[in-house]
């Protein structure tokens, strides 16, 4: 099933959603964007739960935007789970199967299989109210997958799970997707999920899709500063491009970068920086404000002039809060965005 969303439009007070997006058959498209940018609203409109003010939604070329939700053959995992409170876990999962008139034996087998998938076999006879947040979320996932929908919409289906389980389940979701060659629209606020799971990522901001592209393309060569700063950790310096060199406001040459001369922002990842003890030409003075231990590595937070910068370092980093260092942006890795001014805009709508 190819999903075509064309000029879909919805207004809530001063919030405006206007989206064009296509998900090819068998494609896994993640939608990421700051909280409140309209991700859930988009999904709800595709599922038919929210009326659009205009625009079209087509599945395999057939217009479905006036079709009843149950006719669309779309499965959905709700951000707030929306479990049936009066049904036990197994009944929740079996609901869609019953509607498809699946025989009792098959149904029970399928429910068992799904509960195993989400590791909730022992909660089969419990009511949702007694489940923990993560358990509820997994029931919602199992329930949506159960009837083998041809299009699957997932609204942050793993947000309440621990890292371990999340990694497990995201692999399962992808496997289910691949096996059934589902068309999947996946909303997440977890960039790692988006990067690892998706064929393509759509970056949403303030009700619009800013950019879509493969995870690697968006991460490594983001077309917009917003995409770059939103997807993964990053740093930005304000300054100007002069003859292929980025120069800070203080006049220091930092790194080569492509682009037209003029004011703008230099964008680079934390692993595109090296921290040195000694000053050298091109290096910026850096004061360490905080060092975060992240397991296999550390994040060194600090400032250079007015800018906060975060730097990857090994777990056994030599840096500690309060120290002074010198920051080198590895040449050729940084990107220049002309005309932009800093990163504040990646925070929610203002």
């Amino acid at each position: 099933m190819t999903l075509n969303v064309t000029d879909l439009f919805r207004t809530y007070g001063d919030f405006q959603l206007r989206v064009d997006v296509t998900v090819a058959k068998g494609e896994f498209l993640s939608v990421i964007g700051p909280s409140g940018c309209g991700k859930s609203t988009l999904l709800r409109m595709v599922a038919g739960l929210e009326a659009a003010d205009g625009g079209s939604i087509a599945l395999n070329g057939q217009e479905i935007s006036v079709m009843a939700p149950e006719k669309r053959g779309i499965g959905m995992v709700f951000q707030d789970y929306a479990l049936f409170p009066h049904m036990r876990v197994a009944e929740n999962v079996a609901y869609g199967l019953k509607l498809r008139k699946m025989g009792k034996g098959n149904r029970e087998a399928r429910v068992r299989e799904l509960l195993e998938l989400v590791r909730l076999t022992d909660k089969a006879d419990d009511f949702p109210a007694t489940l923990s947040g993560g358990e509820q979320q997994r029931v919602a996932l199992a329930r949506a997958i159960a009837p083998n929908p041809s299009v699957l919409l997932l609204d942050e289906p793993l947000s309440a799970l621990d890292a371990r389980l999340r990694i497990d389940l995201r692999r399962q979701i992808r496997e289910v997707h691949d096996r059934l060659s589902l068309t999947t629209l996946y909303v997440t606020h977890d960039q790692e999920e988006a990067l690892t799971l998706s064929d393509r990522i759509a970056v949403m901001r303030q009700g619009r899709i800013l950019q879509t592209g493969s995870p690697r393309a968006l991460y490594e060569t983001p077309g917009h500063l917003f995409t770059g700063t939103f997807l993964g950790l990053s740093n930005t310096l304000e300054g100007r491009l002069e003859a292929g060199w980025f120069v800070t406001e203080e006049g220091q040459k930092v790194s080569t970068a492509r682009g037209e001369d003029g004011p703008g922002v230099l964008f680079f990842r934390p692993h595109h920086v090296v921290l040195h003890g000694e000053p050298a030409p091109g290096r910026l003075p850096f004061s360490v404000t905080r060092v975060e231990y992240c397991g296999g590595w550390s994040l060194v937070h600090g400032t250079t002039g007015p800018h906060g910068v975060v730097v990857f370092d090994s777990a056994e980093t030599r840096w500690a809060a309060g120290q002074q260092g010198h920051l080198e942006v590895v040449s050729g890795q940084a990107q220049f965005f002309p005309g932009e001014t800093g990163v504040t805009e990646c925070t929610p709508r203002f």
């Binding site: 959905m76 709700f78 479990l83 049936f84």
Partner: protein, 558 residues
């Protein structure tokens, strides 16, 4: 340290707030009258007399059966209305909501009058059809039969069902219903497998109420049923207590009625508990629907039906209040003279006094019943298990005890403790409060149960004590329930007649009492005028209550 730790003294004392008044104002008079009656005189025990007659079993059986049929019919008719009130936004909704409470306030004698005027053999409906098709005999014989009883009970109760269930539906999270749609369930399937089960707490709550009403109904059964063929326990109590002067028998019947009520109440409370599945972490997001094209037509039909069942008898009644005959069988003319007469009859106007008294009693009743019902609801929803259900049942029992018996109990009690007593307004109000607060309790506890427990908890962690939490978080969230409860209390007090008759001073007349007298003097047109006045007053008061209670802070207004 054990469970139920940190409950402050305040919370513990709160138990007494509903309990003490219930004990003093209800259980004391009840036990006085029961003890008095059952200590027995000469002759066989009233219970022996009662149960040796097959008639008794017929009466009990019929009481249960007619109440069941009435309840089911009312619920079926009420559910679509509940959806309209709860889910659809349209103009005039507020007014419609206020209108749903009207049947409820009408003293049954007035309803009977309205039914006769509209559905009777010489009623508007029959005469209209006879005129249209040139018939000699009235085509519909609706009244004086079982279906007349059901029709009247539905008339009383289905707007109530719509209102009670509607206000629950309004705040009901539609997430699960939407999920069902995405899983392939059509609107009907979704309704029956997801929405309806979700509404069950409200449905059981409404059903319990309606069942009790019909269980206790007597004027309707008495007049529209067409005689002793259709007799309820309540009618028998009324006959025994007030006419046959057989207090023993009345008390015995009251015991039987109360026992049955108790069982019924306990069952509905239990079913309600069973049906409510609070889900942690779900904020209700209101889905308000707009009606479109063909759907509108269907709803048009529904509204037409509503108009036929509810509005037309009332409109016929109001209409008649503006009519007069020139002579006994002469032509009808429009007039305002009945209204004028209501306020200008001999001496200090009777109707004016009645209006004043009724309003005063109703206001005071609301003031008493609200806090009492609220406290009872709060206490009972917080207590779990069988004990909680028992207390809830015990506090709702006043709903299931005939006001005749209660009035007599009061009378006895007053004679016992205040020998010089000779009728007072305080006693009337107290009786009204007792009769009405269980309705407040019902209405409030339904909305109280729906509040996610983490809300008051959040308030507690922010430093609010239990009382503060109650006033700043729970109270605002149960406002709609409170308004509903207040409307009930007001309405019931406006319509109450039995206890008033026994307890009020001779010169204290209320609107229903005046109505009785007008009808007793077969001054039907004037009675219609007073009835119309009563309806108008009630609608005005409901609107006022709604406006006071609903407007300012409602988060989910559109």
């Amino acid at each position: 340290m054990t469970r139920t730790s940190h409950r402050g003294w305040g919370a513990r004392l709160l138990w007494l707030v509903p309990l003490v008044p219930t004990l003093i104002l209800f259980y004391l008079p009840l036990s006085v009258i029961l003890a008095e009656a059952l200590k027995g005189g000469e002759g066989p025990s009233p219970f022996v007399r009662l149960f040796s007659s097959p008639y008794t079993f017929r009466v009990i059986g019929f009481t249960l059966w007619q109440a069941l049929v009435s309840t089911v019919v009312s619920l079926i008719l009420g559910l679509p209305g509940a959806w309209l009130l709860g889910r659809v936004s349209f103009r005039g909704k507020r007014l419609l909501k206020a209108l749903t409470a009207i049947p409820f306030v009408l003293p049954s004698i007035l309803v009977v009058l309205a039914f006769v005027i509209f559905y009777g053999n010489s009623g508007v409906l029959n005469r209209f059809v006879m005129g249209a098709f040139d018939l000699k005999r009235p085509p519909f014989t609706i009244l004086y039969s079982f279906s007349a009883i059901i029709l009247a009970h539905a008339f009383y109760n289905f707007p109530l069902a719509a209102r009670l269930i509607g206000s629950f539906w309004e705040r009901h999270n539609d997430g699960p219903a939407l999920a069902a749609r995405t899983l392939g369930a059509g609107p009907f399937r979704t309704f029956f497998t997801v929405t309806l089960p979700g509404l069950l707490p409200a449905i059981f709550s409404a059903a319990g109420l309606i069942y009790l009403f019909c269980f206790m109904s007597f004027a309707v059964v008495l007049v529209l049923g067409g005689g002793p063929r259709y007799t309820t326990i309540e009618v028998e109590i009324y006959r025994a207590a007030r006419i046959s002067l057989d207090l023993d028998m009345a008390a015995a019947l009251a015991v039987v009625g109360a026992a049955l009520t108790l069982v019924l109440l306990f069952l509905t409370v239990k079913m309600q508990h069973r049906a409510s599945h609070a889900v942690r972490g779900q904020a209700a997001r209101r889905g308000t629907t707009r009606l479109s094209g063909p759907v509108r037509f269907v709803w048009g039909l529904y509204i037409l039906m509503v108009v036929l069942v509810v509005a037309s008898p009332l409109l016929a009644l109001v209409g008649r209040s503006f009519l007069a005959r020139t002579t006994r069988s002469g032509p009808l003319v429009w007039t305002l003279k009945w209204y004028a007469m209501l306020f200008t009859e001999t001496g200090p106007s009777l109707s004016l006094a009645a209006v004043k008294n009724s309003l005063t009693f109703a206001m005071l009743t609301v003031c008493g019943a609200l806090p009492l019902g609220l406290a009872a609801a709060w206490v009972t929803t917080r207590s779990k298990g069988a004990l909680g259900r028992l207390t809830e049942t015990a506090m709702m029992l006043p709903m299931g005890v005939s006001s005749v018996v209660l009035g007599l109990g009061y009378f006895k009690c007053l004679a016992l403790f205040f020998p010089d007593y000779s009728g007072s307004r305080a006693a009337v109000v107290a009786a009204h409060v007792v009769v009405t607060y269980p309705f407040v309790l019902r209405a409030v506890s339904a909305s109280l149960k729906r509040i996610s427990p983490s809300l008051p908890q959040a308030a507690r962690t922010l430093g609010a004590g239990p009382f503060r939490t109650f006033f700043t978080v729970e109270l605002p969230l149960i406002r709609s329930g409170l308004v509903g409860g207040a409307c009930f209390a007001f309405a019931l007090s406006m319509g109450e007649i039995n206890a008033t008759l026994i307890l009020a001073q001779a010169d204290t007349v209320t609107i229903p009492l005046a109505l009785y007298r007008l009808i007793g003097a077969y001054r039907y047109f004037a009675a219609c005028a007073l009835g119309a006045l009563l309806m108008g007053l009630c609608v005005a008061c409901f609107l006022l209550l709604e406006w006071m209670g609903g407007e300012s802070l409602d988060p989910e207004r559109d």
